[in-house]
């Protein structure tokens, strides 16, 4: 860890937003998380900190903001959410919902169903449920699991919480669940126009982040890059903030990309789906285009992290982060995804498979960012699937993640691709796989033999997420799974 006490001037961000119904303007330390801000600057301690890395949900709060013509309510893990992003939004914390004398209906249901034991996770559950019911008054079980899988309760009150949810879902109207003061703020959110401004304050107190910049145009962005070449880019922040909170890494300059409209676009063109690098997982998941044209991506997203993370984590961040176990990468690779990279002087196009160079090292040059991810249209007859293996079947990072894309006609394979994460320092495409399958009859494939062959192509390592042996076994078994499924589908014809 570098000690940079007086090397840089420390900045504050002046932002304006709503906190539990009240409009406030605050000067916030650069890069401070929403949770730390609530605790240290507002002395609001109802929001709990338990893991400080987005994995437990105790710090869940809700943000409301306009999106495509409506106000949406989203649960987020406040420990990873940079407070600077609150500008123009409504932050709802446990202090805003109900009082011991007059509980909110969600709180009342949790009380009478004994959905509380030690109480430390409770505010987080209440807020996750608030976001859920604000958007969807009668959620099905699947949606409820999605909404709550990011909230851990070590006392194990989940069943009672589900019972409370069932009662709410059966009896409540959305108008009773979103309080009037929230509705009132909604109007103001639509009208919100204040610009955020930056204050520069010299201070002797060391901070991990000296300056948090939020450009609103690409011109501003690249001007800032030129001015501060040591800047690190931040999109959702679900990884940068973990590095900051847990690894105690220092970031002198952080440039947030999410306020730039171009990076938030999601649209379909002839050459495929264009995903701006600041588009969140949840936007992708909710998108009708993705649901219709890329169902395999839609399904995969529901297996990534938790709702609270998907609400601000981005696909662009997942790629730029270059984790060897990035959940989306193998699928994007077999779909022949490509990237538009942008810097002050240049816009260039690069296939995703050429983007990863070495462990956490990418083709991005200094001052260059991912502008868009492009996924070409799926062909009708392709078998495309991705399988993620992890210790826990939700909210976990993969031990191994694979994806295949097999193009076939009349029972015969034309083209195929297999990509794997978790078996090398970067996500990789199998060299053998297309060769082994080329021109073969599907019925004649020997899944076990192919699995064994592919397994021998890789030299996975043993780490905390699994032994090398386990990873090899997973590679083989994933292959068996894909090929057997393909054969079954073929047999049904």
């Amino acid at each position: 860890m570098k000690n940079q006490i007086t090397q840089y001037e420390t900045h504050l961000n002046r932002i304006t937003f709503f906190l539990n119904g009240e409009k406030i303007t605050a000067d916030i330390p650069a890069g401070i998380s929403t949770l730390d801000w609530l605790h240290t600057k507002k002395h609001l301690y109802g929001t709990k900190c338990s893991c400080n890395e987005g994995d437990c949900g105790a710090c869940t709060v809700v943000i409301a903001f306009p999106f495509e013509g409506i106000i949406i309510y989203q649960a987020i893990t406040s420990c990873l959410y940079p407070a600077a992003k609150l500008h123009g939004k409504h932050l709802i914390t446990i202090e805003g919902l109900g009082s011991p004398e007059k509980l909110h209906p969600i709180q009342q249901a949790l009380l009478t169903h004994h959905g509380i034991q030690c109480g430390y996770c409770t505010p987080g559950f209440v807020l996750s449920l608030f976001a859920l019911f604000a958007m969807q008054p009668h959620p099905d079980r699947k949606t409820v699991f999605s909404a709550l899988e990011g909230n851990l309760c070590r006392c194990g009150t989940y069943q009672n919480i589900l019972n409370a949810v069932d009662e709410l879902s059966a009896n409540q109207n959305v108008k009773d669940l979103v309080p009037a003061w929230c509705r009132k703020v909604e109007q103001e959110l639509f009208r919100f126009q204040e610009q955020d401004s930056m204050l520069v304050v010299k201070t002797e107190i060391p901070q991990q982040v000296n300056c948090y910049l939020m450009p609103e145009t690409t011109k501003q962005l690249f001007d800032l890059c030129a001015e501060h070449p040591e800047s690190v880019f931040i999109a959702g922040g679900t990884d940068i903030m973990v590095q900051k909170n847990i690894n105690r890494k220092e970031f002198p300059f952080l440039i947030d990309l999410t306020a730039i409209p171009e990076f938030n676009r999601l649209y379909l063109q002839q050459d495929g789906l264009h995903i701006g690098s600041a588009v969140t997982y949840n936007q992708l998941w909710e998108s009708g285009i993705v649901k219709t044209h890329f169902p395999v991506l839609h399904n995969l997203i529901s297996q990534i992290a938790s709702q609270q993370i998907r609400n601000f984590g981005t696909l662009g961040g997942n790629i730029a982060n270059a984790s060897p176990v990035g959940d989306t990468i193998p699928l994007l690779m077999v779909l022949n995804a490509s990237l538009w990279l942008q810097s002050q002087l240049e816009l260039r196009h690069i296939p995703l498979k050429d983007f990863f160079l070495a462990y956490r090292k990418t083709a991005l040059q200094k001052g260059e960012i991912i502008k868009e991810i492009i996924i070409p249209p799926l062909t009708e007859d392709n078998y495309v699937k991705t399988v993620k293996s992890a210790k826990r079947q939700s909210v976990d990072i993969s031990s191994v993640i694979t994806a295949v894309n097999i193009e076939y006609k009349n029972g015969r394979i034309i083209n195929s691709a297999l990509a794997i994460g978790g078996v090398a320092s970067i996500p990789v495409l199998s060299k053998k796989f297309p060769f082994l399958l080329k021109s073969k009859q599907i019925k004649a494939l020997d899944p076990a033999a192919i699995g064994k062959e592919i397994e021998s192509e890789f030299e996975p390592i043993t780490d905390v997420r699994g032994t090398a042996l386990f990873r090899r076994e997973l590679i083989r078994n994933h292959l068996i799974l894909y090929l057997q499924e393909l054969q079954e589908a073929e047999n049904e014809l």
Binding site: N3, H43, Y45, G46, K48, S50, C51, E53, D55, A58, T93, L97, G98, S99, P100, L103, Q107, L110, L111, H114, I116, Q117, C118, G119, Y120, T122, P123, F145, E149, N151, L152, R154, C155, G156, T157, Y158, Q159, I161, I205, Q207, Q208, I246, S389, A390, K391, R392, Q393, S394, V395, D396, I397, S399, D463, V464, T467, F470, L474, I480, L481, Q484
Partner: protein, 754 residues
């Protein structure tokens, strides 16, 4: 189902307004403590230079072993653990120095400026290695009944083996913390997240060299503990106390999740070596067991945990000839400590895996073999305590009926026949759990009850509220005695000035001990008030009522034949006060009839047993090693529950912790003893999707004469054992695909596709 009253702190919790230590604005002048933790497992300290750290702006003080005014010793059962090691480091993460600064981040930066030089020594991490070197805290312990060697020789069949269970991280959502605030003179108040106020007070005063009455312990409530704060809180409370004592400023010690996971003790991993003899009917004739508990670097509670493992080794089965030996191994891991179940799950796991082995060997149904071996009333445990109120026969019958067992078995067999990839399995696990601290002296407790003149009531006990709703249960008890509504009763924080010498809130005894103490105190007040009630009723209604006919009910007091001639409780209290009748009482309770002779391994260590059984059905994906729990049936005997909804919540929560331990919670260390899965992104505890798809819990009442307060029974730990049924169900499914292999513990996807 009696589900009211609801959680006494429920409305506060739900609004984020309940008080947790350190989740509040810092005090004026409060300092933050950060630690230098040992990077190695076993080493000599050759240099510890704090001068550069001390000079950093914003740093107030750096504390090491040299700063301790009293005795550098925080051990209790065995005094073997220093607060800071002086020469020899014993585990990765052992605190070596503490930096105090005005700002948390400055404290962190200053820790990096401490210069540490080491001379590394060989370290031991495995229990068996320690056992082979005779590296333990005390000599081997033994409980023996009959002649196991002869019985093994004569048994028609024998098996032997080695069984391993791994540790478990507590993962209380509220991490370890203590806020120490200096008070007048040398006195100090510790707001500490502990299950054990007496221990923190005793050890802190020893370290500071001041009398216990100079140290005030205050525990508002805990955000989960599960045993991890029974002893685990002591070291951090001592740190905060020492720092506040030396700086005369408030000091906050608050571990981050990562520090908490890295450096605090966990559930004991056990390695067990065993031999068993049985007949063709699957009846166990002889059992010879050696339990090796991996205690970590210091004794902590390892002896007591080992002892409870030994007491539960035969689980719910009568075995005529049995020898249980146990050894608490000293290794270079952070000192392992109490965790819900306290050794019992480890002992029971061995027995249950043996029964499944025998059942498979002899092709006997797994439920049938458990019924054949079940304890019957009148039989003696290996330590000589008579089984008097076992309902095991009834429990097994109900379980089979609830689960529609024979049909379920057929369904599973049919499914497995037609599915090469997915396999289903059934697992059955009963429990007989002994309630009481096995260290008899801990089975005592106190309560202090005040009735204020408006009729509202304040109750203090030595018990600590940590989500188990001890407070709600104590309030129910007092409400029943005084005939007043629960919302008129406040159950206070645990504080040594009100209740001293409190045993830890642990061993599922919280409501038995503290509830009974509160009951006795309330009964004293009731007796006093009865005399006043007779006088007041006579005055008001010109009625003569005998003391034995006075009834306290629904906030009223009246003669049993004259319910309309009542006085209200507040009216009575106000009158009693004017008549100078005492409105407070101290209640003291000790659990009757407990004794145990450790040398002979004989006694009556438990007040009573709790019985029950669980049946789990799982489906395993043999390709991916993933599984779902399709059904979980539980039949649990529970005395006369004070609040069935609370007890159900305890069952569900304990089961899920048991399932987590057996199926996903995987502690991974490197070869140097550094714990690698020390964060929630790599150490997985059950989430909402890990609930069984269907859970059926039937709570059956039982004879109350042997139970505790108002016929209720302890509930915290016994149901954790039901989680084991999921492991055995997975093992059954796994063996469908791999008949020759054994499933290793825990049953992670990695184990399940091995």
């Amino acid at each position: 189902m009696n589900s009211e009253p609801y959680h006494l702190s429920g409305t506060l919790h739900l609004c984020g307004k309940s008080r947790f230590i350190a989740d509040e604005p810092p005090l004026q002048g409060e300092l933050y403590a950060k630690f230098l933790f040992s990077p190695v497992a076993h080493s000599l300290i050759t240099k510890l230079d704090i001068s550069a750290a001390e000079k950093m702006p914003g740093v107030v003080k750096v504390i090491t072993s040299a700063s301790i005014p009293g005795i550098n010793q925080i051990g209790t059962v065995i005094k073997d653990e220093p607060l800071f090691p002086e020469k020899e480091i014993m585990y990765v993460g052992q605190p070596l120095a503490m930096v105090l600064a005005e700002d948390e981040y400055i404290a962190e930066l200053a820790v990096n400026k401490i210069i540490l030089k080491l001379e590394e020594l060989p370290a031991i991490f495995a229990a068996e290695d320690a056992y082979n070197k005779k590296q333990g805290y005390i000599s081997e312990r033994k409980i023996e009944s009959g002649d196991v060697e002869t019985a093994l020789k004569n048994a028609p069949f024998t098996l032997q083996g080695r069984t391993v269970t791994t540790g478990q991280e507590h993962f209380y959502l509220e991490g370890q913390r203590c806020l120490a605030v200096p008070f007048e003179g040398n006195r100090i108040t510790l707001h500490t997240a502990t299950q054990s106020t007496m221990e923190v007070q005793e050890v802190t005063s020893r370290v500071l060299g001041i009398p216990a009455n100079d140290v005030i312990i205050e525990v508002p409530r805990l955000g989960g503990a599960f045993g991890g704060k029974e002893r685990g809180a002591t070291i951090w409370a001592c740190m905060a106390a020492l720092a506040a004592f030396l700086t005369k400023r408030p000091v906050l010690v608050k571990l981050t999740r990562s520090e908490d996971m890295h450096y605090t003790g966990k559930r004991h991993p056990f390695t067990s070596l065993w031999q068993v003899g049985y007949d063709e009917n699957g009846k166990i004739l002889a059992y010879d067991l050696l339990l090796l508990a991996n205690g970590g670097a210091y004794a902590d509670l390892s002896m007591a945990i080992l002892e409870r493992a030994m007491f539960h080794s035969e689980n719910a089965y009568f075995i005529p000839d049995i020898r249980i030996r146990g050894y608490a191994c000293k290794t270079n891991l952070p000192p392992n400590t109490a965790f819900r179940g306290f050794g019992a799950p480890q002992g029971i796991f061995v027995m249950e895996s043996i029964l499944d082995k025998i059942a498979r060997q002899l092709k006997i149904d797994p439920l049938e073999i458990r019924q054949r071996n079940a304890y019957q009333n009148g039989q003696l445990t290996p330590y000589g305590q008579e089984i008097t109120h076992s309902q095991l026969n009834n429990i097994y019958a109900k379980l089979a009926e609830k689960a529609n067992y024979s049909m379920l078995k057929e369904e599973v067999a049919e499914f497995n026949k037609h599915n090469p990839r997915y396999k289903r399995g059934i697992g059955i696990t009963p429990v007989k759990f002994g309630i009481s601290f096995t260290t008899a002296l801990l089975n005592q407790g106190s309560a202090l009850v005040w009735v204020y003149i408006d009729g509202s009531v304040s109750v203090s006990t030595g018990g600590v509220e940590m989500g188990q709703e001890l407070s709600t249960k104590v309030a129910i008890v007092v409400s029943r005695v005084l005939g007043i509504p629960v919302n008129q009763i406040r159950v206070e924080s645990s504080n040594t000035q009100r209740i001293g010498n409190a045993s830890p809130t642990a061993a599922s005894t919280g409501s038995d001990i503290n509830g009974n103490a509160a009951r006795l105190a309330a009964e004293k007040i009731k007796a006093n008030l009865t005399q006043s009630a007779i006088a007041l009723i006579a005055q008001k209604y010109e009625l003569t009522v005998f003391p034995e006919d006075i009834i306290f009910s629904e906030n009223k007091v009246f003669g049993k034949d004259f319910p309309d001639a009542y006085i209200t409780f507040p009216e009575l209290v106000s009158y009693a006060h004017t008549e100078r009748i005492p409105l407070a009482a101290y209640g003291y309770y000790k659990t009757p009839g407990l004794w145990f002779d450790r040398d002979k391994g004989i006694g009556h260590p438990f007040h009573y047993f709790v019985y029950g059984a669980a049946l789990a059905e799982v489906e395993l994906d043999t390709l991916l090693g993933e599984h779902t729990i399709r059904k979980l049936f539980i039949v649990h005997e529970n005395g006369n529950s004070l609040n069935e909804a609370i007890d159900r919540g305890q069952i569900e929560g304990a089961v899920l912790q048991g399932i987590g331990w057996c199926t996903m919670e995987d502690l991974i260390y490197d070869e140097k003893g550094l714990y690698l899965s020390a964060n929630p992104s790599t150490y997985k505890i059950p989430g909402i999707r890990n609930l069984p798809a269907e859970t059926y819990i039937e709570i059956i009442p039982s004879a109350t004469e042997e139970a505790s307060v108002f016929g209720s029974k302890g509930i915290g730990e016994p149901p954790l054992i039901y989680g084991l049924s999921v492991f055995f169900a997975l093992q059954a499914a796994y063996k469908e695909a791999n008949p020759e292999k054994e499933l290793s513990f825990p049953a992670t996807p990695e184990s399940l596709i091995k």
